[in-house]
C-alpha cells in the first residue's frame, strides 16, 4: 500500500535510528550465559550500554575489543583474541556474541577466519560458543542488527536433524517484542500444550528479576542446547518479517516449515496466531483465551469512538511500525505521517500513503496537524513543541518506568493499548472542550 521514500537530506536532524551493532548485541542479551561484545572502539559499547541500562533499568553485561588507532591499522585479530580469552577467564560465559561495527567491516576483516584460528590455538575455549554477527553501523539500523544476530545464532548452532518432536515449536522473536510480549506468547503457546523454544528470549534475561547472586553474563534467556535442537520442531513461527531469514535457515537445514506473522497487535492478527497454535497442537482454543478475545471485542466497541478518523504521526522501526499502524487503522484512525529507520519488506504493508526512511525532524515537519504522536522517548520533546498527546513505543524508552513490561500484543495487549491510547484522546478532547468553553465547561461524556 504505502510508497517508500528516503530522506534526501545530507544532515540527519534528531536521529530516530540507533545502530546495527546495538541491535545485534541486544539480541545476544536474550541468550543464557552470554556476554555480548562489540568488535570496535570502546566508546561504541559505552554509548550502547548506557542506552540499554536506561531502557531496561538493569545491569547489562556488555564488552568491547577496545580497538584503537594502531590496532585499526594493524588489524583487529589480536584484540579479538585477547578479548575472548579475557572474557572466558573472568566471566565464564557459555557464549560470546560478537558484533562488528563500521570500523572493522570497512577494513574488510575476516572475522570468521580469525575465530577459526583463535579456536585452533586455544582448545580451552572448546566449551564456549563464539557467534559472530556482521553489523556495520554505516548500514541499516537496530532491527537489521537484531535480525543479523538471530540468523547468526541459528546458523552457528542449529544441528541438522530430521527427527520430529510433535509438541516442540520454534518461536523467533523480532526486536519489536518486549519481555512482557514474550511472556504472553509463551503463556499462550503453552496453553495449547506446545513446548516453545523462544529465540532470543529476553523475557528470561531482561524481565527485571532480583536474583540471589551476581554473575557477569546474562542470567536466563534461551539455552544453547535448546537452539541446537530447533531442527526437531514441527514448525518455526517467525514473529516479525525481520525474523524470516533466520527461519529460512532452519527450514533449509532441517526442513522445519515456516510461518511468518508480520504483526501480533490487533484482533485479526492475534486470531491468526491463535488459530495456528490450535492447528499445530490439534487442540481447541482454551476457554481463558476465548474469554480474553471477548474482552478485546468489548474494548474495541467501547474505544472506537475515540479513534475514528484521528490523524496519527508515528516513527518506529519497520516491524513495530507495521504492528502499531495496523492496529490503529483497525480502530478507524488514519496514519497521516509514518517515519522509519531502515528499508524492510514490512514498509509497503504499512497502511498509510507513504513511509519515509528518515529522522525525527521529518516526523516533526509532517506531524503538525496530527492529533497523536507515537515514537520512542526522543519524541517527547517534539510532542511538547507541537502540543500533541504523546504515546511512547519502541527503543529506547528512558524517561518512563517499566519498558520491559509494556505489553502490546495479543488480546490483552491490544485491549490495554486501546485503553491507554484512547485515554490520551479523551484527555486531549476534554482539555480542548474546556479550553473552548471556559474553565467551568462540562467535560464531554459519551
Amino acid at each position: 500500500m504505502a510508497s517508500v521514500a528516503k530522506s534526501s537530506k545530507n544532515c540527519t536532524v534528531n536521529p530516530l535510528k540507533t545502530s546495527q551493532p546495538l541491535g545485534g548485541a541486544s539480541a545476544f542479551m536474550g541468550l543464557d550465559g552470554c556476554l555480548p561484545m562489540l568488535h570496535a572502539a570502546q566508546g561504541c559499547t559505552a554509548f550502547a550500554l548506557v542506552l540499554l541500562v536506561r531502557h531496561y533499568r538493569e545491569a547489562i553485561p556488555f564488552q568491547t575489543t577496545a580497538m584503537n588507532e594502531v590496532t585499526t591499522i594493524l588489524g583487529g585479530k589480536d584484540n579479538l583474541e585477547e578479548a575472548i580469552l579475557n572474557i572466558a577467564k573472568r566471566a565464564q560465559p557459555k557464549v560470546i556474541g560478537i558484533c562488528s561495527n563500521g570500523l572493522i567491516e570497512a577494513r574488510g576483516e575476516d572475522i570468521r577466519g580469525d575465530l577459526k584460528l583463535i579456536r585452533q590455538r586455544h582448545p580451552e575455549l572448546d566449551g564456549i560458543a563464539l557467534i559472530y554477527a556482521k553489523t556495520p553501523d554505516y548500514k541499516g539500523g537496530f532491527q537489521d542488527g537484531w535480525a543479523a544476530a538471530v540468523t547468526a545464532m541459528v546458523d552457528e548452532l542449529v544441528e541438522p536433524d530430521f527427527a520430529r518432536h510433535l509438541h516442540q515449536i520454534n518461536i523467533l522473536a523480532g526486536c519489536h517484542l518486549t519481555p512482557a510480549d514474550l511472556e504472553e506468547i509463551r503463556d499462550t503457546v503453552e496453553a495449547f500444550g506446545l513446548e516453545p523454544i523462544i529465540l532470543p528470549d529476553i523475557a528470561g534475561s531482561l524481565d527485571g528479576h532480583v536474583a540471589d547472586n551476581w554473575v557477569q553474563t546474562t542470567m536466563g534467556g534461551t539455552k544453547l542446547d535448546d537452539i541446537r535442537r530447533m531442527g526437531c520442531s514441527v514448525a518455526t513461527l517467525a514473529l516479525g518479517l525481520q525474523m524470516e531469514p533466520a527461519a529460512r535457515v532452519i527450514e533449509t537445514r532441517c526442513d522445519v516449515p515456516v510461518e511468518v506473522f508480520p504483526r501480533l497487535t490487533g484482533l485479526l492478527a492475534w486470531d491468526n496466531f491463535v488459530a495456528a497454535l490450535a492447528r499445530l497442537s490439534g487442540k481447541s482454543v482454551p476457554a481463558s483465551i476465548r474469554r480474553r478475545r471477548s474482552q478485546l471485542l468489548d474494548a474495541m466497541l467501547d474505544g472506537h469512538f475515540y479513534f475514528g478518523q484521528k490523524k496519527i504521526a508515528i516513527a518506529a522501526e519497520p516491524d513495530l511500525l507495521l504492528g502499531l499502524t495496523g492496529f490503529l487503522t483497525d480502530m478507524g484512525a488514519i496514519i497521516a505521517a509514518a517515519v522509519t529507520t531502515t528499508d524492510s519488506a514490512a514498509l509497503p504493508l504499512v497502511p498509510s500513503q507513504g513511509v519515509r526512511i528518515g529522522d525525527l525532524d521529518d516526523l516533526e515537519q509532517a506531524a503538525t496537524d496530527c492529533e497523536l504522536l507515537i515514537c520512542h522517548s526522543h519524541g517527547a520533546r517534539i510532542a511538547e513543541r507541537l502540543g500533541l498527546p504523546f504515546f511512547r513505543a519502541g527503543f529506547p524508552l528512558f524517561d518512563r518506568l517499566g519498558a520491559a513490561h509494556k505489553l502490546s500484543i495479543g488480546y490483552r495487549g491490544t485491549r490495554d493499548l486501546i485503553f491507554e491510547i484512547g485515554n490520551l484522546f479523551i484527555a486531549a478532547d476534554s482539555h480542548h472542550h474546556s479550553a473552548k468553553g471556559g474553565k467551568d465547561a462540562p467535560v464531554a461524556s459519551h
Binding site: 559499547t45 550502547a48 577496545a66 580497538m67 579479538l80
Partner: protein, 459 residues
C-alpha cells in the same frame, strides 16, 4: 596518525598526577592503564570531547560518522540551558556505505550548509569519528572551507573514539577551544571581578546552585567552560581575571595555556560540600583582590560564608539524627573522592570506602586523611566484589554513577546517583542540603525492609 600530538597533551607540566610519573609512564598518557580488550569500560575520546563542548547551548554540534556515534548517544546528558536549546538537537551526517567507499567530505560540507541555512547558529562544531578518520576525511579542511564560504566559525574537533579514552577527548576539546574559540573576540567591557569556571558543565543545574553566590558578592562570571555557555561568551573568556578549575584536571591544558597566553592565574577547587564551597569562594576572593579587585571582597566573602553555613546547619537539623553513624560506600573518583567525603562527614556519616579512580595523588592523600581508620581508598572495585560488599551490609548506602546503580539495587541497598545522569544539583550550599536530604530519603524509604522480607511460604 595523531599520536604525536596526543603525547604532547599528556606531557602536562601543571598536572600533579603527571609530575609524579617517571618518563616511561608519562609517555603512556593519563587516565590509568591502557585499555584491556574484553575488560574495558567507559567512554571514548569522542564522548569526552562532546561532554566538554556540547554545553555551548546556542551552537550546532554536528557528528561526522555512522549512526552509532550520535544516534546511540544524543541528548542523553543533563547539562542544562537557561535559554537556547539548539545544543540538544542531534545533528549527524549518518554516513552510509557509499560515503565509506567514496569519502564523506562532500556530505559533511552539505550538512554544514543545511544546518547554517536552517538554524543560523553562531558557530558549528564538527566532530570527527573513527570510521571517517580511517577513510581519511579531512574535517579540518572541510571546516576551513565552510568557515570561509559561510562566514561563521566552523570548528573541527578531531577526537575520534579510537584515539583514546574520554579523558583524552576532553583535552582535545580543550585544544579546539584554545585554537579556534577563546580569544577570538574582545568583550565590550571588563570588571576587576571577572572569572571563568573551567570544567563545570551545569549538570542538573549545578552551576545555578553557585551563580547566586557570585552575584551576591559582585563577582561576574564571564563564562563557564562550558556549562550553560553561549558561543560569543566563550570567545571572550581570555579577559577574565581568575580561572577556577572545577572538580577536575580534565581541562588543565586550557587553564595552563590561558595563564601562559593571557596571564590568567588558576586554581583547582570544588563546590561539593560546605567546606569545599567555602574554600573555593575564599580562594576566588583572594586571587581577585591580588589582581586588583576591591579589598573588601574578602570580608564580604567571609560574611556570606558564615551566613550560608548557619543556614545549612539549620536546614539540616531535622534529618541529621537519621544520618548520623550511617555507613557510605563512595564510588565516584577524581576530586569527588574527597570533596564528597567532607560533605558526608558534615552529617556525621561514616565513609567506609572511596574510589580514587581518575584521582591525583593529592586527591588520594586527602581522601585517606579524611576517612582515617574508618575507610579505605579503592582503585577499582569489580562489580562482583561490590555486590558482595553491599549484600554483606558493609554499607548502608552507595553513592555512584548510573552504571553501578543496579549492582546496589540488586543487592537491595539504598543508592544515590552522584554522577552526570542525576536529576538534582549537589553543588554549593543549597546543593549540600539537597544531597543530604536525598540520602535521607533513600535511607528511610520503607521498600528496602519489605523487599528483604522472605515470602511467607519461604519462612
Amino acid at each position: 596518525m595523531s599520536q604525536h600530538k596526543h603525547q604532547d597533551l599528556f606531557d602536562e607540566p601543571a598536572c600533579a598526577k603527571n609530575r609524579d610519573k617517571d618518563d616511561k609512564a608519562r609517555k603512556k598518557g593519563c587516565g590509568g592503564k591502557s585499555l584491556t580488550p574484553g575488560n574495558a569500560a567507559g567512554g571514548c575520546a569522542f564522548d569526552g570531547a562532546k561532554i566538554v563542548l556540547q554545553p555551548i547551548t546556542d551552537a550546532a554540534h554536528l557528528v561526522h560518522g555512522p549512526i552509532a556515534c550520535e544516534g546511540n548517544s544524543w541528548d542523553s546528558r543533563h547539562a542544562l540551558s537557561s535559554g537556547p536549546q539548539l545544543y540538544r538537537t542531534g545533528f549527524t551526517t549518518d554516513i552510509g556505505e557509499m560515503d565509506v567507499i567514496y569519502g564523506g567530505e562532500k556530505r559533511l560540507f552539505r550538512a554544514i550548509k543545511e544546518i547554517i541555512s536552517r538554524f543560523s547558529p553562531p558557530a558549528v562544531f564538527v566532530y570527527q569519528t573513527c570510521v571517517t578518520a580511517m577513510i581519511g576525511d579531512d574535517i579540518e579542511m572541510v571546516c576551513k572551507v565552510a568557515s570561509e564560504r559561510f562566514g561563521l566559525p566552523v570548528i573541527p574537533v578531531n577526537a575520534p573514539g579510537f584515539a583514546g579514552k574520554k579523558n583524552l577527548g576532553t583535552k582535545l576539546a580543550g585544544e579546539a577551544l584554545l585554537k579556534y574559540v577563546i580569544g577570538t573576540e574582545e568583550p565590550e567591557f571588563t570588571t576587576p571581578t571577572d572569572i571563568n569556571l573551567l570544567g563545570e558543565y551545569n549538570v542538573s543545574g549545578d552551576l545555578w546552585a553557585v551563580t547566586p553566590l557570585f552575584q551576591r558578592l559582585g563577582i561576574r562570571l564571564v563564562t563557564s567552560i562550558t556549562g550553560d555557555a553561549r558561543y560569543h561568551q566563550v570567545t571572550k573568556a581570555h579577559r577574565a581575571r581568575v580561572n577556577m578549575m572545577v572538580c577536575s584536571q580534565a581541562l588543565i591544558n586550557v587553564a595552563r595555556k590561558m595563564e601562559e597566553r593571557w596571564g590568567i592565574p588558576y586554581f583547582e577547587g570544588s563546590f561539593y560540600g560546605v567546606e569545599a564551597t567555602g574554600t573555593s569562594l575564599r580562594t576566588i576572593a583572594k586571587m581577585l583582590v591580588e589582581r586588583g579587585a576591591e579589598a573588601d571582597l574578602i570580608g564580604r566573602t567571609e560574611a556570606l560564608i558564615a551566613e550560608e553555613e548557619a543556614r545549612v546547619a539549620t536546614a539540616l537539623v531535622p534529618i541529621l539524627p537519621a544520618l548520623k553513624g550511617k555507613k557510605v560506600l563512595l564510588y565516584t573518583g577524581g576530586v569527588k573522592s574527597w570533596s564528597m567525603i567532607s560533605a558526608l562527614h558534615y552529617a556525621g556519616m561514616i565513609v567506609i570506602g572511596s574510589s580514587t579512580r581518575k584521582a591525583t595523588k593529592e586527591d588520594k592523600v586527602r581522601a585517606e586523611a579524611l576517612m582515617g581508620e574508618e575507610g579505605e581508598t579503592i582503585d577499582n572495585l569489580p562489580q562482583r566484589d561490590m555486590y558482595r560488599k553491599l549484600k554483606n551490609r558493609e554499607a548502608d548506602i552507595m553513592l555512584s554513577g548510573g552504571r553501578t546503580q543496579f549492582v546496589a539495587l540488586k543487592a537491595v541497598t539504598p543508592w544515590l546517583d552522584s554522577n552526570q545522569e542525576r536529576h538534582n544539583a549537589y553543588a554549593g550550599y543549597d546543593g549540600t542540603i539537597t544531597l543530604l536530604r536525598e540520602i535521607h530519603k533513600a535511607l528511610t524509604n520503607p521498600v528496602f525492609a519489605q523487599v528483604c522480607t522472605p515470602a511467607p511460604w519461604e519462612m
